[in-house]
């Protein structure tokens, strides 16, 4: 049996839709999880209701659109990337995880119809080879959490070798570099890690890799010719946050140089109002959820603006001092915040989406 990483150890049962039985991806997953109880079910049987305390893995075909725009808003600037939908839910358990509000269950869903997925991407990206795309798989799951079972990121990077107009971001909190040897063009893949203060990683991100491991992996990728992305998201307001984030930034400075990094996002913890109740119930240790959150203009709860600006200013100053200033951007922030912290707004430099596109493509300007 393949040696499974620790974050997958809780998987105790596989559910398999009949229509997914003969998919090559199914065979691969089953091969890597031998000996686990398996229940075959009709496609129409409704959602899996797994009675056990461990995790269930559900292999099924996905019938919707795989590629969709990241849902931005008018008021807060969105990074304008496209989500490649590879599955749902995550084996790790971060107290702040938005997926707790998106999905009722914790079943790990893997879409097995990989050929449909790649065909859709092929159609979309071939249509206009001059149009550039930034895509990412880490929206409804962690990009690499199930890589040891699915190998899907490996398939994807190999497939995207045919599309120099596409840059793929693989965002994760674990370390799995098994896909890297299959990358034809490292300048079109952005390995990305979410970072946080050490106390937050230790107490609120159960099952994830340590900060040292994430940054070491980022360095390995940088040495292999990749540009990496770092995401301070969600930035948490907790007692001692200054010291915590300073330590993480120092670790970044010790491990990476500015030329290794495509971009670094700063995103304050924000949430749908109902998520706060879920977090408070499930994770009593998550005291940060009782911070000073007020309804934002998009209906999500956000930390009071001066508190956000204080945190952003603190992080931005330290990252800028290390030379990472040009890589910084805010995830879903208003002009007021951009101006207060970085002294510029996305409108003044041609829009955030375009800026990130240029940085993702190694500084190549969009001709369009």
């Amino acid at each position: 049996m393949t040696h499974l990483p620790a974050h997958l150890a809780a998987i105790e049962h596989i559910y398999l839709d009949r229509s997914a039985r003969d998919e090559p991806l199914t065979a691969r997953v089953l091969d890597r999880l031998p000996g686990l109880p398996l229940t075959e079910r009709e496609d129409e049987a409704g959602p899996v209701e797994h009675p056990g305390t461990g995790q269930a893995l559900w292999l099924r075909r996905f019938k919707g659109r795989f590629l969709r725009p990241c849902p931005g808003t008018r008021i807060y600037h969105c990074c304008a990337y496209q989500i490649a939908h590879i599955g749902e839910n995550c084996p790790m358990s971060c107290t702040y995880c938005i997926l707790q509000a998106y999905f009722q269950d914790r079943t790990l869903k893997v879409w097995t119809n990989r050929d449909d997925f790649l065909e859709e991407l092929d159609r979309t990206f071939s249509e206009d080879p001059t149009r550039r795309w930034r895509i990412g798989t880490g929206e409804f799951t962690d990009s690499l959490a199930l890589e040891a079972l699915t190998g899907l990121s490996g398939d994807l990077v190999e497939f995207l070798g045919r599309f120099p107009n596409v840059c793929l971001e693989l965002k994760s909190k674990i370390v799995d570099l098994s896909w890297t040897p299959r990358v034809p063009r490292p300048d079109r893949v952005l390995p990305a890690w979410s970072l946080n203060a050490p106390q937050i990683v230790a107490t609120q991100e159960q099952g994830t890799a340590s900060l040292e491991e994430r940054l070491q992996a980022a360095r390995t990728c940088a040495d292999a010719g990749f540009k990496v992305c770092l995401h301070f998201d969600p930035i948490i307001h907790f007692p001692g946050w200054q010291e915590g984030y300073s330590r993480t930034i120092k670790m970044i400075g010790d491990m990476l140089a500015p030329e290794h990094v495509a971009y670094i996002s700063l995103g304050s913890f924000r949430h749908m109002p109902e998520l706060a109740g879920i977090i408070a119930r499930r994770h009593p240790q998550a005291g940060y959820v009782h911070g000073e959150f007020v309804p934002g203009l998009d209906g999500k709860m956000r930390l009071l603006r001066p508190l956000r600006v204080e945190q952003f200013t603190f992080l931005a100053a330290r990252l800028t001092a290390l030379g990472f200033g040009p890589a910084l951007y805010f995830c879903m922030e208003s002009d007021e915040v951009w101006r207060a912290v970085l002294g510029r707004t996305p409108g003044e430099f041609g829009g955030l989406g375009r800026y990130l596109m240029d940085r993702a493509f190694g500084g190549e300007r969009d001709s369009g």
Binding site: H290, G291, E292, L304, R305, P306, L307, V309
Partner: protein, 324 residues
Amino acid sequence: MTVSDAVILIPAQAIEASSPCLFWPGEPDESLAFSLARLGQMEPVLVERQGEGFSLVAGARRLAVLTDLGRPVLAREVEATDLEKGLLYLSTNAARPLTDGMRFAALRYFHMLLTESELTNFVAPLMGLSPQGRDIRLLLAWFNLPDAFDPALMSGRLPLAAGEPLSRMTREEQEAVLPFFATLAWSRGSAVNFLTWILEAARAREMSASEILAQGGFYPILSEEGLSPKDAITALTALARAARYPALFRLETEAVRLGREICAGTAFRLTRPDQFETPAVELTVRVAGPGPLSRATADFQKIAASPLWDRLFNLAEAPAEPEA
């Protein structure tokens, strides 16, 4: 259990009314006294034999009135277990309007005699509660709180809903909030807000609720002279909100002050609609005719010339000051 068919007449002094099964003691109302005085006793009380005399099982208020009137009491004799006596009392008093405190008093009696599931499924419906409802859950959870909270609930000073934030506190924190419910009578909203804000302020700062209360100047309000109970509750609730949202509270206070100064002497009202997410303000005025309209126009000119606008617009633009 047996209840005799025969009705006996006994002197009121021969009946002891201190059995724990009389869990809803209370003063008889005037209409009962009037009816017993004018019409006499229609319904016998229930008693059980106790040595030479009797112990009352149901009919405490009738007994009290008849004692005052100096009249003998019509009674039926029962032989029953403690559980049956409680159920008899409950069923003969079921028509009374029940408060959460009364329900808790009843549950406290039955708590030693029945399991939680029996309390939920059999006793709760007798008191008009759904076994699946939130109230029975809260009532049963109340048993995990220190007994010192019981009098406040039973007297109605502390609403049942307060049990939810209370149950999330440590024992030490529960003891720290107890003095606030010793004499003040809280509405449901105020009590829940007060406790929740204190608790959340503590969790957010990785402190205990006791520390928040001690450092936040809460206790002196309890002994402040000249403060009515209503004003004390208003002051405590405001203090709790300030502890829960310190930066927001500071901004709101300053915005209200500047808004009042800017609009002083005019009919305009100034608010910040976006909770400081933007610098925007809203000015509102109500006019009902050309005269008020032209006055409002003049007021508006005056308001626009205020030197305080810069401060108001820039109120939330600087990073938050560290908390004092």
